[in-house]
Every structure is written in structure tokens, then in C-alpha cells.
Amino acid sequence: MTPRTDEALVLRLTDYSETSQIVTLFTAKSGLVRLIAKGVRRSTKKRFAVGLDLLESGEVIYLPPRGDAQLGTLTEWVQRETFTGLRRELLRLHGALYAVELVAGLTEEGDPHPELFHALADTLRNLAGDEPAGPCLPTFQHDLLRAIGYAPRLRECVVCKRAVIPGQPVYFSAGAGGLLCRDCEPHHIEKRRVPSRLIETTPRTGDPSAWFELLDYHLTHIAGRRFKTAEQVAALLVRAHPRRR
């Protein structure tokens, strides 16, 4: 079988034996890929360039799974970026873990999303940099929703298509796929009130904490489960960006 070469980000590492790990990568050309990395935990050989770690990027060479096998084989990993700036602040670190948890939970193996790959790499780069961490997270949530085809409608009511009027009460329904106006919301059980001030902004420019909470609500509904890292990120965001009342 021909080895494949790709750019990749390390999303998850699971110990398989004393020296081997199962590695979940998000690759630019093939999306999620799960590989066995034999001997990686003790490797000082050039092919693994001294182990792998979560949230690093690199160039991967791997053999795709054969037949009914569920795992391919990692044959070479060359580290490119380690995003070391993430490790200086809890919000940056947990925010990055949340981003990779979203990708691992909401994309399928072998389903390529090159634009999402680059969005994730940019998000890790921004979180590791000197810019405020807060806005990076709702921006990435929105990028991911767009990439997987679940971007919510945030300018008009999803039912009657009328533009939301500034200052009037507005609701959000994950099941309906976006905002509900006051006239349409009584017909929906699953919904939550949204501050009308918030929807006058965008995930990139608005209150990071409020946008994060709203988009996480939507993502949780799509995934059908809570994300393990969400609660901690929400708490850190509130501390870093106290809500405007």
C-alpha cells in the first residue's frame, strides 16, 4: 500500500501499550485519521522526532488501514509547530483543547475539510500568540459550524425570514437552526433567550463569553452531548471577559 503524506494536527493520544499509542490526527487532505504509532513513546529515532504531543502540527507519513482494520500505521512524524504559547495561560490551553474536541467530535474519519484544518491551525496560532484569547473561540465555533454545514442563521428569523428588529426580544433554537422572532418563538419548545445586543455583533467582534455560550449550546445540540472541556472554558471566559449587563 502506498504511504500518504499530509499536514496534520494532533487531536488525541491514547496509550495502547507501554511504548505504542493510538493517535488521532486531523489532516489537511483526509480529515480525521486514526493511526497506531508503534514504539512512539520511547522513540529517539528520527522517524518520530522524539514523540508526539497533543496540539502540535507536523508532517505525517502513514499507511491507511487495510481491509477491515480500523487503524492505519504512522510511519513518520516531523514536528512543525508546537504552539508553546498555549502553555502560559489556562484560557488559551483549555480553549485550544475545546477546539480540538469539537473537531474530533463533529467530523468523520476520512471526510476532508481543508478549510477547517486551516481554521483550526490559525486558531491554535492565535491562541498561542499575543492577541486576546477570548474572540478566537467563538470565531472558531462559527467557522466549524459553517464547515460542517450547520451555520446558524443569525440575522433573520429562521421561520418567517423577517429581519430581527434591534431592541426586541429574540430567541435562538438549535433545532430550528437559528434565531426566532417574538411571533414565531411560541411554536418552539427548544429555545433560549438571546440578549438582543448580542446579535447586533458578530462572533468575532461581540462579547466572547456570550457568543461562546450561545454557539456551544448549538454545537451541543448537534453533537447530542456536552463537550468535556466546555464548562471550564466558559468559566475561564467569564473570568477574562465579565459579562456586560
Partner: protein
């Protein structure tokens, strides 16, 4: 390899041995036949050592290192500097550090690391006990010796945030290129850390 078809206690022994790390079917067979041929005393000494380990080893009540009494041998040693606590993830890390022979302080074993993606949270570790030790004793320095992995760093960052207001010196192990390795094979992170942490040779 063909699976052996032995039955009874010998097969059971081989099945149990195969569950051990690094022991495959072939090694399990070799060990089982060795024990079968060995003196009764030799074989029973192994069984008794396993039972004693399971019955008598417990966590040290102060640092969570492995102990066969209330305190581990390090915490009970009066020559140890109780003002310096080295924080490690697991007892195996403690053994590796002890083997260097340069540590005069005492330890605190966290019993793991924070792994948000695996659902391991600070409350699952012995961090609260570490804080109590630092607050109640004459601790001058806490040395964080968690692994230089993302999860080890997450754990260290969390502990740093908790110790920030206590007024104790917090340090971390140095990082960089391992002696005996070669720069051309070192990864970027190692080189970056080594460059940032460079120091005067004197």
C-alpha cells in the same frame, strides 16, 4: 503462533501472565514452564511477594508515594528537607528522580495529570492535599516536575494558579536537549526550550 491447548492450572497461569505488560503468549509459556519446573519454595515466594504487595502497599498519607506504613520511607526520613516539595505525576516519576541522587527534598505524587479530553479533572488528583501541605507547613519551594507534555503542562499551570497567592516559591524543571542526543534530531520544541533556557557555562 499456535495457541497452546493446555488446560487446568497451567493454562490459567499462562492466561494470567499474558495480562502483564510486555508479556506475550510465548513469554507467558516460558515463565509458566519455568515456575512449573522451579522448586516449590521459589514459586511460592513469587506468589507471596505478589500477595504482600497487594495487601501491604498503600499510598503514603502525606505525599501519596507508595508506602508499606503510614508514611513512605522518604517522608519518614528526618534528613529530608521538608521545606522543598517536588511534585510528580506518578510514583514511577519519583523513582526516576530519586535515582539521580541529587534530591534532598520531599515529594508529592499527584496520581495522574489533568486531561480535559479524557475527563480527568483537578478533583481527581491529590492537588487539594498538596495545597494543604503547602499552607500548613514551612514549605519554601514547590518544584513542579510534571511531564513536559501538554497535559503535564496543563496540570502545572493549574497548580501555579492555585499557589500564586500563597507566597511560596514555585519552580519547574529545566527543559531542552537531552545529553547524548543530537541537535539535528531534536524537535523544534526542544530546541526552542533549550535556546530560551540557555545559561552561562560558569
Amino acid at each position: 503462533m499456535t495457541e497452546s491447548k493446555l488446560t487446568g492450572p497451567l493454562q490459567r497461569l499462562m492466561d494470567e501472565l499474558k495480562k502483564l505488560p510486555g508479556i506475550g503468549a510465548r513469554s507467558a509459556e516460558r515463565v509458566a514452564f519455568h515456575l512449573l519446573k522451579a522448586d516449590r519454595e521459589e514459586a511460592l515466594a513469587l506468589a507471596q511477594a505478589i500477595m504482600a504487595t497487594k495487601d501491604e502497599i498503600r499510598p503514603c498519607s502525606r505525599c501519596y508515594n507508595l508506602a508499606d506504613g503510614e508514611l513512605c520511607s522518604i517522608c519518614a526520613d528526618p534528613r529530608r528537607d521538608q521545606g522543598q516539595i517536588i511534585v510528580v505525576e506518578q510514583p514511577k516519576d519519583l523513582l526516576a528522580l530519586e535515582a539521580t541522587g541529587v534530591i534532598t527534598g520531599v515529594y508529592h505524587v499527584l496520581m495522574g495529570h489533568i486531561a480535559p479530553l479524557e475527563g480527568v479533572e483537578p478533583g481527581d488528583l491529590t492537588i487539594d492535599l498538596l495545597l494543604s501541605r503547602v499552607k500548613s507547613g514551612d514549605v519554601r519551594e514547590v518544584i513542579l516536575a510534571t511531564n513536559p507534555t501538554l497535559e503535564g503542562d496543563t496540570t502545572a499551570l493549574h497548580i501555579i494558579s492555585l499557589l500564586a497567592d500563597i507566597g511560596v516559591t514555585v519552580t519547574r524543571l529545566a527543559r531542552g536537549i537531552a545529553p547524548g542526543s543530537q541537535i539535528e534530531y531534536a524537535n523544534r520544541a526542544m530546541l526552542e526550550e533549550a535556546f530560551r533556557g540557555r545559561r552561562s557555562p560558569l
